[in-house]
Symmetry: C2
């Protein structure tokens, strides 16, 4: 990537630093996370610095890590919710007023960046779109393949509450009584077999 | 916290560094994450250094961030799955053999640390268990309030696959066709109202 591109600022840091931060957290540089950095950057700018923001991400793939790297919102602190809807979109909103901005990959706009369009729509084999090409394409596109809309969040904004918990008579671990008289694992829905 | 306690090693770093890493990522020091560090540490030790591990966490609260801070697994890279089961337990397992270890807060053992037991079971008001007391309790407890079991993972281990996507005739965004002829948002299940 040219000096000029790697010096572009996004989410308060250079693209070069962005790439390093993505690799450190995510384990590898994914083009979707570079795109995600530009999405977060735009949403943050629209929302303003002085707003305490929560996040909703509309896919499980990649994008949640852009929120976790570039904002204070994480999965575990509950400030980021993730919907398994497979849409390349995220929203940042004021947790008090519930108003904010949704930013998404706008496919119509993305058509002017064929590498980006073909990558996202899986129209080209991966080997034809190596990482370096994709990063350069995404950084060049900057916000030009994105759109945003002002929104008011109507659901999924409530903090996760712990319900009533008791000790499961099966395993002796604490579990939410809403699951029944035993925990889900003791009801046979567990994800593991015990080994010797 | 005493010098001796803050120097204890967990997840390859001192407790002091652990606390700093938790605050940097999670936004604040949560006792559950300190406990989580000891859980991850034990699971990693059991599994061994040379194993490429995936993670399953059994609650949305706090604990997913322990995995994200102390292992290479994140929500967005798909190496960590999170179940909304409200159990304070996590598993690390070899992604090839699917065998690994589940580590959990063992309430019977936790009874010998009343602050820990009362905190987890919400039997004491928060003001009676300030952060400093909780961190000291958790570090003192180390692995003595935890148990582990060797497991073979039987579900939730498959990598998340993207299904077939097309362009939604409603909004023009890409969406998984498994959702129907329009995306969920265009079907009225969205989480936002557009603002002027």
């Amino acid at each position: 990537m040219s000096m000029e591109l790697s010096d572009i600022q996004v989410c308060g840091r250079s693209v070069k630093k962005c790439l390093a931060d993505i690799e450190a957290f995510h384990g590898f540089t994914a083009p979707g996370l570079v795109l995600g950095a530009f999405m977060v950057d735009w949403a943050q700018e629209l929302l303003g610095d002085d707003v305490e923001a929560d996040a909703i991400v509309e896919t499980h793939h990649c994008l949640p890590d852009a929120i976790q790297i570039f904002t204070p919102c994480t999965f575990g602190n509950g400030w980021m919710k993730v919907l398994d809807w497979d849409k390349f979109a995220l929203s940042l909103y004021d947790k008090k007023t519930l108003t904010g901005y949704r930013v998404w990959l706008d496919l119509e706009k993305a058509r002017q960046f064929p590498n980006l369009y073909n990558w996202y729509m899986r129209l080209a084999p991966k080997k034809d779109l190596p990482l370096e090409v994709m990063v350069e394409t995404v950084v060049n596109a900057n916000r030009d393949a994105l759109s945003y809309g002002p929104i008011r969040v109507t659901q999924f904004h409530a903090p996760l509450k712990k319900g009533n918990t008791e000790i499961c008579p099966g395993c002796g671990e604490a579990y939410p009584t809403a699951q029944g008289t035993q925990c889900l694992t003791c009801q046979g829905q567990g994800y593991y077999e015990l080994q010797q």
